[in-house]
Amino acid sequence: MSERILELYIGPQHPGSGHMRFHIKVDGDIIVEAQPNIGYVHRAVEKIAETKKYIQIIPLVERPSLADTANPNLCYILALEKLLGVEPPERASYLRVLLAEMNRIHSHFYGIGILGIMLGSSTAFMWGFADREILIDLCQLLTGARITYSYIIPGGVRRDMPKSFVERALKALRYIEKRLKDYDNLFIENPVTKARLEGVGVLKKKDAIRLGVVGPNLRASGVRYDVRKNTPYCVYDKLDFDMVVLKEGDSYARLRARVLEIKESIKIIRQILKEIPEGPILAENYYKMIPPKWKDYYSSTGILKFPAIFARLKPSPGEAVARVEGGRGEFFFYVISDGTDKPYRLRMVSPSYRNVILFSHLLKGHRIADIPAIYGSLDYFPPGADR
C-alpha cells in the first residue's frame, strides 16, 4: 500500500452518487479498486409481503423500482395467476402490454436524463424529464394515476381505455418522434458526449454472460436475449418489433440502445392501438361475482370495482415463477403459497440488483471522471436494487 493511493468515499451525500456509496482507491486519477456499498434504502419488501394479503402486495411491489412500475406489477400478477389458475381476457392482455410499453419509454427517458446530468449537460436532463411528462399524462388518462398505477389485477385490469385515448396517444407519439431528432442533434451526436462515452466502461460479451447482467446493458454487449422474444408473455408473440442488439459494449452503445428501444416501443404502441379487440377486461369467473349496481357503473364509466373475493384470495398451495422484461432489465418473481390468504414467501429480484456486480468490474482502470459516465449509462436505480 503505497502513499500515492488516495481513499475516497463517494457517499450518499454527493451530487453524483444517488442513494449509495462507492469506496474507491485512486492512484493519481486512475481508479485502482472500487466497491459499491448498497443497502441505504432497504425497505424489506419481502418481509412485509409475508404479512399482507395477496391483493395488498400489488402496491408493495411496484414502489421500489420507481420509474418503471407497471412491469413488476405485471410480473407479480403473472406468477399469481399461475397459482390461481385464471387467464385474463384478450383485451386485458393488450391493455397490460400498452401500459408496460408506455412505462418502458418514460423509464428510458429517465435514464437518458440522468446520464445527461451526470455528464454535465443540464439540457438533456431537463428535456428528458419534460418529455416524460407527455407519457405520464397519457398514463394518467388510462389508469388515473401518474406513476404508481396498481392497474394490473389478478384476472385483468382495473379500467377500460377511454374514448379519447387513441387520438391523444397518436398525437403524443408523433411529438415524441419529433423530439428524438432534437436529442440526436444536441446530446447524442455531440462530440463532447462521444468523447466522454466512447470506449468507456467496455463490457465484453463473455463477461456480460458470466456476470449475469440484464437489460439494455446486456443487449448492448452483443447478447441476443430479451424476455419478450425468448419466452413471450401476454400478447408479445402477436406483435412485430425488433430486438435492439449492439456489439460495442461501451457506454455510448448503452445510450444508443436505450434510444433505439424507445423507437421500438413506439412501434409496438401503434400496433396495439390499431389491433386491440373489444371485449371484457376482467376474467369471467371474477366478473360474475361483482354486484349488479357496480356492473352498471362499469358499463357507464369503464371503471371496475373489485369483487369481494379479492379481499380473501386463497390460491392453491404450490409455487410459481414469472419473468418480465422491464425498462431496466428482467424482473423475476417467485411466489410460494401455502393455501392461506398471505403468501408463505415472496422472492423479488429486480434488474438493478443484478447489475450491481458491474460496478467493481467496470470501474477498475478508469478515471474519476468516468464514474458518473459509467453509473449513468448502466441506468442503475438504488431503490430498485435495495428493495
Binding site: 475516497l8 453524483g16 454535465g120 463532447v192
Partner: protein, 341 residues
C-alpha cells in the same frame, strides 16, 4: 477652503483616470453589475433552451432580473461555516484574494485614447502577467479546505492553468506582431480588426478565454457530479459568492482584452471617432458583452470534458495552433514589407 471648493476637488479627484477606472468603469463597480447581469442571463438563456422559465419570482414584471440581487443579499446574511481542521487564515483570505486579484488588469486596459489609468509601453505584457496571479488562489484554497474533493479539484485547476498559459501568451505575441506595438492604447488606436488580420490567433484566444474561466465544456475544476464543487466545496455564505463571482470577473477582463486586440477596441464599425472619454468605453463594453454572452450560452449546449481531454486540447491543439498563428503573422509582415518595398 470652502465647502463648495472641497466638493469640487473631491469630484475632480474621482474623475481622474487612475481613480475612476479601477473603481467605477471598467473597474470593480462595472464588473459587479455585469456579474449580476450575466448570471441572470445565463440562467435565463439556459432556461429558454430547456423549455422552462428560469428566474421569474423576484421582480416578475422585468423577467426576474433582480434575482441575483436577492441571491447576493442572502449570501451576505448567511453564516460562513469554517471547517475545524481547515487552515483558517488561508481559507478566509483565499476567495477574497481570488476575487480581488482577478480585476487588477483593468488598471491597464484603456477605455479611450485619453482615459487610461496607467500608461506604459508594454501594457499588453503587463496585463498578461497580471492575469496569471488569480488562478493560483484556486490551488491555495483547494489545499486549505482539508477535503479530498477540494484537493482533487485544486489539482485539476493547476493542470489546466499550465496548459492554457502558453497558448495564451504565444497568440497575443502573434497578434501584437501584426500591430507592431505592445502598448494597448496604440493597438486600439490603429483601428484594425484583429479577427480579420489573424483569425487563428483569435480562435486560440477565444478558446483559452473559455478554458480559463470554466465555461462549459471546460467546467472541469468544479465538476459537480464528480467532485462535489471542486475547490469550492467547503464554502458557504459570502465567501462562496466571491468564488462564484471570480470566474465571471476573469471572463470580463479577458473579454475586454479580446475586444481591444481582435474586435477593433472602442471604435465603432464604420468610422473612427472619439467623443467624451466614456462613450468609446461603452462601445467596447458592448463588444465585450457579445463575447461573454457566447460563452455563457455554451452552458446549454455542451456536457463537460474529462481532464485528459482538456489537457490534450491545451497541449496538442492550442499549442500548435498558436505556433501556426505566429508563423502566419510572420508571413503577413514579410509579404507587406515585400509589397511596400
Amino acid at each position: 477652503m470652502s465647502v463648495s471648493e472641497l466638493i469640487r476637488w473631491i469630484v475632480s479627484l474621482l474623475l481622474k483616470p487612475y481613480v475612476f477606472a479601477p473603481i467605477f468603469f471598467p473597474g470593480i463597480a462595472t464588473a459587479f453589475i455585469l456579474i449580476l447581469l450575466l448570471i441572470w442571463l445565463e440562467r435565463k438563456i439556459a432556461a429558454k433552451v430547456q423549455l422552462r422559465y428560469g428566474p421569474l419570482y423576484v421582480s416578475k414584471r422585468f423577467g426576474g432580473i433582480l434575482q441575483l440581487v436577492a441571491d447576493l443579499l442572502r449570501y451576505l446574511f448567511q453564516e460562513p461555516i469554517i471547517p475545524k481542521n481547515a487552515d483558517k487564515i488561508v481559507f478566509i483570505l483565499g476567495p477574497i484574494l481570488l476575487f480581488g486579484t482577478a480585476y487588477i488588469p483593468t488598471a491597464l486596459i484603456p477605455v479611450s485614447g485619453s482615459f487610461v489609468p496607467f500608461r506604459s509601453e508594454v501594457s499588453l505584457l503587463v496585463v498578461i502577467a497580471l492575469l496569471s496571479i488569480s488562478p493560483l488562489f484556486d490551488l491555495v484554497i483547494g489545499w486549505a479546505s482539508n477535503n479530498k474533493f477540494s484537493l482533487i479539484g485544486g489539482l485539476r485547476e493547476g493542470y489546466i492553468i499550465v496548459s492554457y498559459e502558453i497558448p495564451l501568451f504565444i497568440s497575443t505575441i502573434a497578434i501584437a506582431m501584426l500591430y507592431g506595438t505592445l502598448d494597448l492604447v496604440e493597438i486600439a488606436g490603429q483601428n484594425k480588426w484583429g479577427v480579420l488580420l489573424n483569425p487563428i490567433a483569435a480562435l486560440v484566444f477565444l478558446i483559452v478565454t473559455y478554458m480559463s474561466t470554466a465555461r462549459f465544456p471546460f467546467e472541469i475544476a468544479e465538476a459537480e457530479s464528480e467532485i462535489v464543487m471542486g475547490p469550492y466545496t467547503e464554502y458557504s455564505g459570502i465567501l462562496y459568492g466571491l468564488t462564484m463571482g471570480a470566474s465571471y470577473v476573469k471572463m470580463y477582463v479577458l473579454s475586454l482584452l479580446f475586444t481591444i486586440l481582435f474586435l477593433g477596441g472602442w471604435n465603432p464599425v464604420f468610422w473612427p471617432f472619439t467623443l467624451h472619454p466614456i462613450l468609446p468605453g461603452l462601445i467596447m463594453l458592448a463588444k465585450a458583452l457579445v463575447v461573454m454572452v457566447i460563452g455563457i450560452f455554451l452552458r446549454a449546449v455542451y456536457p463537460r470534458y474529462r481532464i485528459d481531454h482538456a489537457l490534450s486540447i491545451g497541449w496538442k491543439l492550442l499549442l500548435t495552433l498558436s505556433f501556426l498563428a505566429v508563423c502566419y503573422s510572420l508571413l503577413i509582415t514579410y509579404l507587406q514589407v515585400v509589397v511596400w518595398v
